[in-house]
Amino acid sequence: MTDITDGLAELGEHRTEAPSEHTVATDLARGRAALRRRRLRLGGALSATVLVIGGAAGYLSVSGQPAARQHHGTAASAPLKIHHGGTAPAPSKIRLAAYRGQQPNGFNVTSVPQGFHLQIQASNANSFILAPPGADKDPSSFVGKLVVTAEAGSELGNWESFGDRSVTVHGGHARIGNQKGSATQLWFGVANGVVVDVQAWDSIGLTDQQLINFADGVTTTPALQLGHG
């Protein structure tokens, strides 16, 4: 036997074959089945706190404008904006507006993309979803939505290496990154080792700076309950 470290390194050289498409499809089917089971379990808990704003004019108003006028220039009508890299991002067609609606449990939010409302609040008060009018109400679908989740930093691991670059949120270190042109994610630390993860679907049309400005307006409250797993 060669030296033990050489032997261990050689173990790593024995790679198995790439998976067949059947195996890939089976892995996907297994994941989707697990997701369906999770939705069934969570559905009851979440539905109790789903806030359907839709046509409820004035219920959760943004910038004090009547709801009917908020449809102009919202993410739903904004042009699709996807970062593909290599070209300068187009100027944002959506702006942040002061938020005067119901605050999500465990958080305080000062501004949201214009027209967005609190769509879903997780019952364990560690996550919420902001969405434009007419967005689907699937709690597991984040397309076109803004998702905010707080987690223990110890659960996330070395979050300060996540994403592509460092930015500043609340005067502290934060990380931001875009994945394959689908969504931009931003992580920033708050008190007691808690990390807040903000994910904005690119079709919303927010620039990175707007996402940072949004995050600057997000704080946690003592009602926050961290999720695990």
């Binding site: 036997m1 060669t2 033990i4 470290t5 032997g7 261990l8 390194a9 050689e10 173990l11 790593g12 024995h14 790679r15 198995t16 074959e17 790439a18 998976p19 195996t23 890939v24 499809a25 892995d27 996907l28 297994r30 994941g31 989707r32 697990a34 997701l35 999770r38 597991s140 984040f142 397309v143 998702v147 989740t149 110890s154 691991g157 070395n158 290496s161 996540f162 994403g163 990154g177 875009n178 994945q179 394959k180 689908s182 969504a183 931009t184 994610q185 993860d197 994910q199």
Partner: protein, 170 residues
């Protein structure tokens, strides 16, 4: 309907499944069936967490999930060890042409799961101390001590010509 999550997940599986299975096989001491189970558990957890983790360093996150799956599995096996068996369970065949590799895999299987994971990530996967600590969610000092003790134990096991590989798995 195929979603963006599905397409990204399938890309990840195509790129990383073989590496995950290889790592899992080594971490299980050469048990291909348990390794496949661990990889399936790992991939399912990744799919569930995909919207949250898509922008992370997925390879590192996957390794962490795999280690957790291994440790969870070993906890289960610890309970199962108390069961009585009417017949000796099947064991993988030991290929004669690859004795050193097989012996080393079996020796790895003798280590406690956390120590084994530290040794595999450091010396098989080639991660540095910080990367291993991130994967195991422990301090760099713990990684150093676990990996060092793990190597020492492996040297004892592979150099002992009288050691029974069928013996005292934890």
């Amino acid at each position: 309907m195929t979603t963006a999550r599905d397409e990204e997940f399938k890309d990840f599986v195509r790129r990383q499944r073989a590496a995950l299975l290889s790592t899992a096989t080594i971490m299980t001491g050469g048990d291909p069936h348990l390794a496949e189970d661990l990889v399936q558990v790992c991939l399912t957890k990744l799919y569930l967490a995909w919207p949250r983790i898509r922008s992370m360093k997925l390879d590192a996150y996957a390794r962490r999930v795999l280690v957790n799956a291994l440790i969870d599995e070993k906890r289960g096996l610890f309970r199962k060890r108390e069961q009585a068996w009417a017949e000796v369970p099947d064991r993988p065949d030991r290929p004669d042409h690859d004795g050193d590799r097989y012996g080393l895999l079996e020796a790895l299987g003798q280590l406690a799961p956390g120590m084994r994971a530290a040794v595999v990530l450091r010396y098989v996967e080639g991660l540095n101390v910080q990367e291993t600590a991130d994967a195991l969610r422990c301090s760099t000092g713990t990684v150093k001590s676990q990996a060092s003790r793990g190597l020492a134990r492996l040297r004892e096991l592979v150099s002992d010509p009288h050691h029974s590989w069928q013996g005292d798995k934890p």
